[in-house]
Symmetry: C2
Subunit: 396 residues, 2 copies
């Protein structure tokens, strides 16, 4: 019940025990095509270039940034948590001239603040996290696409922490590049990064296409300024996933099976229904921790459905409570990074764990552990408040 | 029965269906430590920094090269097949001044040729493939470590195609950096890259350490010339796998389970016994294709145990034979790249597929398909010759 990675849906693990097939076997390339189509549904996009990066969610971020950024490009990174710093870090290593804006952790930017920063810095790319698990809040993105379009700025976001648990619409919101991971609301293991790229992003990326030595043929593209990474060179990855099936990496077949199953389960459930499930169980968890008498961190209006940050009460040692929950009750919750380390616990309700039984069990166990640690708690207040949320939902 | 990826050992797939545990759960960090120790056995090294890169074998190569190479460094890449070109490509994108030497595909370099090239180019790093699947030959490395040591050159090799199927000794041969993959003789899926780094390599890498923004604390390392990639920054990956457990990527838990099981199976079998198994079944396959009357490509003295390149007979359409084998017999074999594309088939005997039944079945099916395609074949000659190899081995 931490902020992710969480335990995977057993159906995803079962899919990952299937035997492998050859890299260019017709059934393998059919799986690849199916996976592209499934993730178009998950991201709500019609982008042709919707595929998997073979690595963790951080690999997806680096693939997007190193392929979109030419050294010297100006990039604007608005930071509202630990993962905004990561975008800055990766953009800097890709050779960008990075400009940052920061707001206090737990809050988000207004569209006007973003537009003002774009006017001031004239970036080629806006790179911003959607939901930052470190603070549990999600930056509203729905008005930023229009702003980027007006100023001729490419618009990238990472939705690892938020996708499938919170409303997200790649096309309607004007995104040019989006990257994700499986280990949060998608209910899979870390190790594959679903991503999607708009035609405008593809044009920017393909302008630097350089077919690698070793498979290059006469007339093939050679750029004077190729993308700085071979592994993350999206122009070649597009050709690998496209009809050319140009040899690049050897697809991580088992991770593909897992990523495909994550998306199949979501599309079967309905992506909007999955978001509503996260909203419901997240609301029950929030009500529950408040019902125990605990205070919550961050701007609740912008809180992600799938994680809540709880202030550690005075006199309570956060790590001792986490240790007791894990060792005695088998329940993992997290702490956070930087200014919030040791100040808050982060409790997730995501993916396979966004369920009534996990919410109630966690609240019941937390009450016992807090009481034993000497904190003042409202007996039955957590489970009771969660039950009320479920009853209201059932009655509505 | 292609040149890899091949089907995985069912025991590896079963290990990969285990439920996930938290990223810093004591059982997870224990698995990580166990995996490090198991791969020390597989690589035959005592290197502390023996770990997994989360990505395909190509990710392992890029992590090694981008972390070892500072832009402007001279790198020597002796090329004897497609994957030598890949090392050149990745080193160039990492900003190296790359010098190449080439020999004809199917042959290898002599130690004297390598030493001469080192004298001429004075590189900081020698980067050379061990076994290049494109040509099926393996470069002898056992004398190169001493040469590199004499000239103060770091020594890197990629053993994706050869490890566990051919003798390899990281420490005895003086390697500073080695990367691999699971999808060949290790019997697992692509998607995790085992790697090992000598203390000398670690020193070079850690000299550029820069703890990333977002988790950096007062006094932490900040380099003026950090490694160009965040995802592949080995100095941070070492800290993630080491006692500091510094947050970097979210470990790809299921791939870790798979990589651990691959190594467990090899260490149980005994790494030398695994090499001998590949030698035996590879010898049977070689004798078998020759027994059918087919010619073999490349320097047989340096052929890898686990793959053989067979010249496609005159008048036979290579892809038609491959299609019939796959569609009618369920057996996949490969072709090759560049100058060998459409000229040879590559038949593998590796990992879980290095078995008597797979060798005999493949030879029996190949005989039938070749006969139907109009080629002249020796009836029973393939299976008969393979049986002889097995009988000789049993009698010895």
């Amino acid at each position: 019940m931490g902020p992710g990675p969480v335990n995977a849906d057993p159906r995803v693990l079962r899919a990952m025990s299937a035997q492998l097939v050859g890299q260019y076997d017709p059934s393998m390339t059919a799986y690849m095509n199916e996976t592209m189509e499934l993730y178009r549904g998950v991201f709500k996009t019609t982008n042709e270039q919707t595929l998997l990066i073979d690595g963790t969610s951080r690999a997806g971020i680096e693939a997007a940034l190193v392929s979109l950024i030419s050294p010297g490009d100006r990039v604007l990174v608005p930071i509202f948590g630990r993962f905004g710093h990561l975008l800055r870090e990766i953009a800097e290593r890709a050779g960008a001239e990075v400009h940052v804006r920061e707001v206090e952790w737990g809050t988000v930017f207004t569209p006007a603040q973003i537009e003002q920063a774009i006017r001031e810095t004239k970036p080629a790319l806006l790179a911003i996290v959607h939901g930052d698990t470190s603070t549990t809040v999600a930056q509203p993105l729905d008005e930023l696409g229009d702003i980027c379009a007006r100023h001729g700025v490419l618009f990238y976001t990472d939705v690892t922490a938020s996708l499938a648990g919170n409303t997200f619409e790649a096309d309607a919101w004007g995104l040019d590049a989006v990257t994700a991971g499986l280990q949060k609301c998608l209910g899979g293991p870390s190790g594959s990064a679903p991503a999607t790229f708009s035609p405008r992003a593809v044009e920017v990326i393909n302008a630097r296409k350089s077919i690698e030595a070793g498979i290059r043929e006469a007339g093939d593209a050679v750029s004077a300024h190729p993308i700085r990474s071979n592994y993350f060179d999206l122009s070649m990855i597009f050709d690998y996933w496209g009809p050319k099936r140009l040899n690049h990496h050897t697809e991580a077949t088992t991770m593909l099976y897992g990523a495909r199953e994550c998306a199949r389960l979501l599309v079967d459930e309905g992506i909007d229904a999955a978001v509503e499930r996260h909203r419901l169980h997240g609301a029950a968890m929030l009500a529950g921790v408040q019902g125990l008498g605990l205070a919550v961190f961050g701007d609740l209006e912008h809180r992600m459905n799938n994680v809540v940050a709880v202030r550690i009460p005075e006199g309570v040692t956060g790590d001792a409570v986490r240790g007791e929950l894990l060792n005695d009750f088998g329940i993992e919750i997290g702490t956070s990074f930087g200014p919030l380390h040791g100040k808050v616990w982060r409790i997730g309700t995501m993916g396979y764990n966004a369920r009534k039984d996990t919410v109630l069990t966690t609240l019941a166990a937390l009450e016992q552990v807090l009481r034993r640690s000497g904190a003042t708690v409202t007996g039955g207040g957590g489970v009771g408040a969660a039950y009320e949320v479920y009853q209201d939902a059932a009655g509505s």
